[in-house]
């Protein structure tokens, strides 16, 4: 059955197979050709049901203004976050979130488990790298004026991501349960408690009660590995959705080479245009 096609944006020329020259022989219909045929029809079967290829083509081949390397800071944060997620899963496999077992389980990971210290090191220094990159990314969007119309909401989501990232490092710091992390967390929670209005409630919530007790650690663990990462994942999704929808900014010192046409309104315009695409 031929595939029923929803309208899709065209592929760029370079990806379309070039037409066969007159006089050359058609390729032999061997095993390879058969395999290709099977692959294509399998992909078509899936796509007929999911109808993703249009969106994918749009997302991959939509044009974006030329930009510089600082525009890769956002995706660098994302990669640092992914690295944290993967190393975090492996750390969780050996972690015991109880006041009696936490220190011992981290000691086991560090000193005995295969590549354990390397894994902990990646998670620990990955957090530093991620925090630094978040601040750099924020500085970039600030100085490039990227928070202005129509990207205001993306900035707001970004600030939420900043807070969530800091919450990650605050809650993660307690988990090894050594002297350093224990006392720094006590002080941090107490500082929260001095805040106006919500302060005392927030610190009670973090401690799971008025005193720092056995459930505090498991609460921090749940916040650190379920609540905040889930929220960060969802927020990154919203952030990237807006970025793709609105398009990334152009560095403010770049000007169009041709005068804008009056008809060309619309940020999300996906219409391919022929001018200027290959003249760099």
């Amino acid at each position: 059955m031929a595939k029923i096609k929803p309208p899709v944006p065209p592929l760029p020329d370079s990806l379309n197979p070039s037409p066969r020259r007159a006089g050359t022989k058609p390729p032999p219909a061997g095993v390879i050709a058969q395999g290709q045929e099977t692959g294509i029809s399998a992909v078509n079967w899936i796509d007929e049901r999911l109808q993703l290829s249009g969106g994918l083509r749009w997302a991959l081949f939509r044009k974006i203004p030329r930009h510089d390397w600082t525009y890769s800071l956002g995706s660098s944060v994302m990669f640092a976050f992914l690295s944290q997620a993967v190393t975090g899963v492996f750390l969780a496999m050996a972690y015991d979130p109880s006041t009696t077992g936490a220190y011992e389980s981290i000691r086991y990971t560090t000193n005995e488990a295969f590549l354990g210290e390397f894994l902990r090191g990646m998670h620990k220094w990955g957090s530093t790298v991620m925090v630094v990159l978040v601040f750099l990314h924020m500085a970039q969007t600030f100085f490039y004026g990227a928070y202005k119309y129509p990207r205001e909401l993306n900035w707001v989501i970004g600030v939420v991501l900043l807070i969530l990232t800091m919450a990650m490092s605050f809650t993660g710091y307690l988990l090894p349960f050594d002297q350093r992390s224990y006392w720094a967390t006590i002080v941090g929670v107490n500082i929260n408690g001095t805040g106006p209005i919500v302060g005392p409630y927030l610190s009670d919530f973090l401690r799971a009660g008025p005193e720092f007790g056995a459930t505090t650690l498991s609460r921090f663990y749940a916040i650190h590995m379920l609540l905040v990462p889930g929220a960060i994942g969802a927020m990154i999704g919203a952030h990237l959705w807006l970025v793709t929808k609105l398009g990334t900014t152009s560095p403010p010192w770049n000007r169009p080479r041709h005068r804008p046409q009056g008809s060309d309104i619309g940020v999300a315009s996906s219409a391919p245009s022929s001018n200027g695409s290959s003249d760099q």
Partner: protein, 244 residues
């Protein structure tokens, strides 16, 4: 931005976009290279710097001076810069909360059409100042030194048992958390307590011991130390008694 400015922006942006490059491979290539650099950095730091684990948490010891992760130093330093106790809540929660709210609402009060950093002098100056302030506070936090050690040379006149006693007092004072509130030599925080580098020139040993037993708040009392570890208490007092 008013309506005309918005339309002008969208028109110019549409043109820039039309003159741009397809996301794949233009952007994807750059992002992939950056991803490799990020991963290489993390792996390199992990191999070179490792991950240490300190002594196990001990809720009964009150002698440990906490130090947060370095990127929280600037928040911690705010605590020190703002000293009067009635202003402490302002420093700890007030200032960060106000900063976050200002940050979040930025696109709603900075609505001008200009995007070039040099054509937005106020925003750019404010941004640079904030970066310097945070950098400076982080530097202050980082250079406060190891929080439970006092780097001091014994007076040349000391020798034998007196020198040993002095060294012991130096480490007891370091471990006892005094540096959280007092500056001694190069170490510790200047405030909320007075600098102790030259206490002995102000107070005789007996008065120092009396202060430790019966201090004025917020300084905690060290009477317990005297009953449980009298020789440590003595070493502490005699160390302080020689700081003149």
């Amino acid at each position: 931005m008013n309506r005309a400015e918005k339309e002008a922006y969208l028109r110019e942006y549409g043109q820039l976009k039309a003159e741009g490059e397809p996301f794949f491979p233009y952007s994807v290539a750059k992002d992939s290279i950056m991803a490799c650099i990020v991963m290489a950095t993390i792996i390199g730091m992990s191999i070179i710097l490792g991950a240490e684990l300190g002594p196990k948490a001990d809720p009964t010891s009150t002698t440990y001076v906490p130090r947060p992760e370095w990127y929280f130093f600037f928040l911690f330093e705010l605590l020190r810069v703002i000293k009067p106790p009635e202003l402490v809540p302002l420093a700890t929660i007030g200032v960060p909360t106000i900063c976050i709210i200002l940050l979040m609402l930025l696109p709603f009060y900075d609505r001008g059409p200009e995007r070039h950093p040099l054509k937005r002098p106020i925003a750019t100056t404010a941004g640079v100042l904030v970066i310097f302030a945070m950098g400076y506070l982080t530097y202050l936090g980082a250079s406060a030194g190891s929080p439970n050690e006092i780097d001091m040379k014994a007076p040349a006149a000391l020798a034998g048992p007196a020198l040993i006693e002095w060294e012991k007092g130096r480490s007891v004072v370091g471990q006892a958390g005094c540096l959280a509130c007092h500056k001694i030599g190069e170490n510790g925080n200047d405030g909320p307590g007075p600098v102790l580098t030259h206490v002995a020139s102000r107070l005789p040993e007996a008065a120092i011991a009396q202060t430790l037993r019966n201090p004025t708040a917020p300084m905690p009392s060290f009477k317990n130390l005297e009953t449980t570890q009298p020789e440590n208490f003595k070493a502490m007092v005699s160390f302080l008694g020689q700081l003149n």
